[in-house]
Amino acid sequence: MREDWYVFLVAAACVGLYVYGCIFWCIIAYRRRANREPATFAGNSRLEIFYVALPLLIVIGLFGVTLAKELPVDGVVPKPANRIAVDAFRWSWAFTYPGGFTTRGTPYDPPTLYLPLRRVTEIDLTSSDVTHSFWIPAFLFKRDAIPGMRNVFDLTPIRTGAFLSRCAQFCGIDHALMTFTTRVVPDAAYDRYVASRGAVTP
């Protein structure tokens, strides 16, 4: 997703600077001068067609980049190595790990989501009350937790660490406090955590 972001950033900067250049050039070069009459033309078909074609080509290119990036992001593997069920509720999270044990947080004691490093983890996301959104800013990813619906996606963390994560969809009074910590740990530590049903925290 990061490459996608940079492609868009470069395209944005080019288009932005070009249009800014045109605007500033016009307002400086064509400001009123005593001995100059304004032109009287009211169009230029060739230029106008060019200016439809050019942005069209740019957005077609950007759409290509989007498709190339989105399909892998949205894809899920058929047999994930690890599966965690996430239930969002007002205003915290419950994480159910393989083996069926659950950790449940509160707004004032946010829970921790442990993920194994470089292993595909399937997240099974739903909500028990209103619409929430599961957001890990460091992963540049979020997905909504919607009551009555299951959202399934894969996470494959590539570095260890603790990442502040939160609900992104406004869900009422304590929405601001609906956070959790995503902690990416080495495989062995994760397996110990799951085997001890949460007793041994990595």
């Binding site: 989007t66 502040l164 601001a176």
Partner: protein, 519 residues
């Protein structure tokens, strides 16, 4: 007083729309200052969570439903008959009805503040099931729903009225292809309103039924569907975005051409672009729902990208209009240039978030707050001020000060950018929308302090505007019929115009009848 309350004159109704929307603008602006005060530093406790939630809900509701959208229609109310050479709109009494429904709607929404539990506190989007349970159960949410139902119906009535007026009440010689671009943009806006607003009316009614009659439309426990609410809401909500920009595109086109002293560049292209935007905007609603996992992201992404093309055409036509002109910079033109500079940033970030992989990262974060304020505040609001400065002499027969106007613009432009630019970085650092408090991580404290500082400068700009209006009305220096050397028909009549608009119409033989009439 009685005269104004019973009037069916489109000019008086237009002015009442503008006064009402500006009143809501000041209220919405004060609410925005409360938001910035609360977020000025991390872990602040100036406002409670529930108070903050009401404040941002009312800020969004006021600015969208009671300022930006109705100002465009109110201005059209005043201008369209003048620009097409008609004595009034097609249905003057319907016009008055629509205005009073709208004014009452605003009072109803805000009256929630007086009741137990306060006003609505579920955001201007009022997503179900949140708006059906918990803090959504108070009278405030019902008053919000009833107010918006009134506003929604009022908007539909006004759209019909303006479209019929434009199609049937044009003066002899005023063919469709001679209409000012502003009038064309109002036609496109009217089409959009007729397509989108019934969906708003429906979703509000369904929500009321759910809340009070056990409808369960959006309640999954009884076979309802929470995503359905989002579909119905955004099927209205995205075209609404263009209802809030197309009239302002028209304003900018007229102002840029007037002060470049040159004909509009690419007139036909601009008209086609307006309808292309209107058409495409019907098919992009679910880009607000990329992260739901319940919609076809590639389809809505592709259409969202495409809408950048006609919007780009508008920009290139404004630049083409200025190209080789003889440009002067009174206050309306300053605001028009400010509009272009700000809106461009909103447009560019719009293309970025049309890409779902990027949207997954920034959706519902302050990056989005940056994006839509660059379009609606830096864009539409700047065009709104351009329009006020441009048509103020025509409406009130007295001119605003160019010196104060330049100060107003400078303060607002600097203040706006200092307020909203840091928000892009807040979003990238992980700050979510609609939070009353945030931890002091990364640079969030610093960025928020800068934004709050900027908002004070922006507010000073608005205060300069108020001073300007008050002194202009006190001094009452009479304005000439055509103070800006404008070309469309409203400049052919006195300032302010007589009761039925024109004592005599000039011959209409081109798109610029006033420039081609020897005075």
């Amino acid at each position: 007083m009685i005269e104004w309350m019973t009037t069916t004159d489109h000019k008086k109704i237009g002015i009442m729309y503008i006064v009402t929307t500006m009143t809501f603008f000041f209220i919405g602006g004060c609410l925005a200052m409360l938001i910035r005060a609360q977020l000025a530093r991390p872990d602040n406790d100036f406002l409670s969570a529930h108070a903050y939630n009401q404040v941002f809900t009312l800020h969004g509701t006021a600015m969208i439903f009671f300022v930006i959208a109705p100002f465009g229609l109110g201005l059209a109310n005043f201008l369209v008959p003048l620009q097409i050479g008609a004595p009034d709109v097609a249905f003057p009494r319907l016009n008055a009805t629509a205005f009073w429904m709208f004014a009452i709607a605003g009072i109803v929404v805000f009256s929630g503040l007086a009741g137990y539990g306060g006003a609505a506190a579920t955001g201007w989007t009022a997503y179900a099931p949140l708006s059906e349970i918990a803090e959504g159960t108070g009278a405030g949410q019902d008053l919000w729903l009833i107010g918006l139902l009134l506003a929604s119906v009022s908007t539909i009535l006004t759209a019909i009225n303006l479209m019929v007026t434009i199609f049937l009440f044009r003066a002899p010689g005023m063919t469709m292809w001679r209409l000012p671009i502003f009038v064309w943009e109002i036609v496109a806006t009217g089409v959009l309103i007729l397509m989108a607003f019934p969906s708003l009316t429906a979703v509000l009614a369904l929500l009321l039924i759910d809340r009070h009659l056990g409808g369960h439309f959006f309640d999954p426990a009884y076979g309802g569907n929470a995503v359905l609410y989002q579909h119905l809401f955004w099927f209205f909500g995205h075209p609404e975005v263009y209802v809030m920009i197309l009239p302002y595109f028209g304003i900018i086109t007229e102002i840029v051409a007037t002060f470049s002293h040159k004909p509009v560049f690419g007139y036909v292209g601009l008209v086609i672009a307006a309808f292309a935007i209107a058409g495409l905007s019907i098919g992009v609603w679910a880009h607000h729902m990329f992260t739901t996992g319940a919609v076809s992201n590639p389809f809505f992404s592709a259409v969202s990208f495409l809408i950048a093309v006609p919007t780009g055409v508008k920009f290139l036509n404004w630049i083409g209009t200025m190209w080789k002109g003889s440009i002067t910079f009174p206050t309306p033109m300053l605001f028009a240039v400010g509009f272009m500079l700000n809106f461009l940033i909103g447009g560019i970030t719009g293309v970025m978030i049309a890409s779902p992989p990027i949207d997954y990262g920034v959706h519902d974060s302050y990056f989005i707050v940056n994006h839509f304020h660059y379009t609606l505040a830096g864009g539409s609001m700047f065009a709104l001020f351009a329009a006020l400065y441009f048509w103020f002499p025509k409406m009130f027969g007295t001119q605003l000060s160019d010196r104060l106007g330049a100060w107003c613009f400078a303060l607002m432009f600097v203040g706006f950018n200092v307020t909203f630019m840091p928000m892009a970085f807040m979003g990238l650092e992980g700050m979510a929308r609609r939070v009353y408090t945030y931890p002091n991580i990364a640079h969030l404290g610093l960025l928020n302090a800068i934004a709050t500082g900027g908002s004070i400068v922006l507010a000073l700009g608005v205060i300069v505007f108020v001073v300007d209006v008050v002194t202009a009305i006190a001094r009452r220096i009479p304005a000439p019929a055509n103070p800006w050397h404008g070309y469309s028909l409203e400049w052919a009549t006195s300032s302010p115009p007589p009761e039925f608009n024109f004592d005599a119409l000039p011959p209409i033989r081109s798109r610029r009848p006033v420039w081609e009439t020897p005075s």
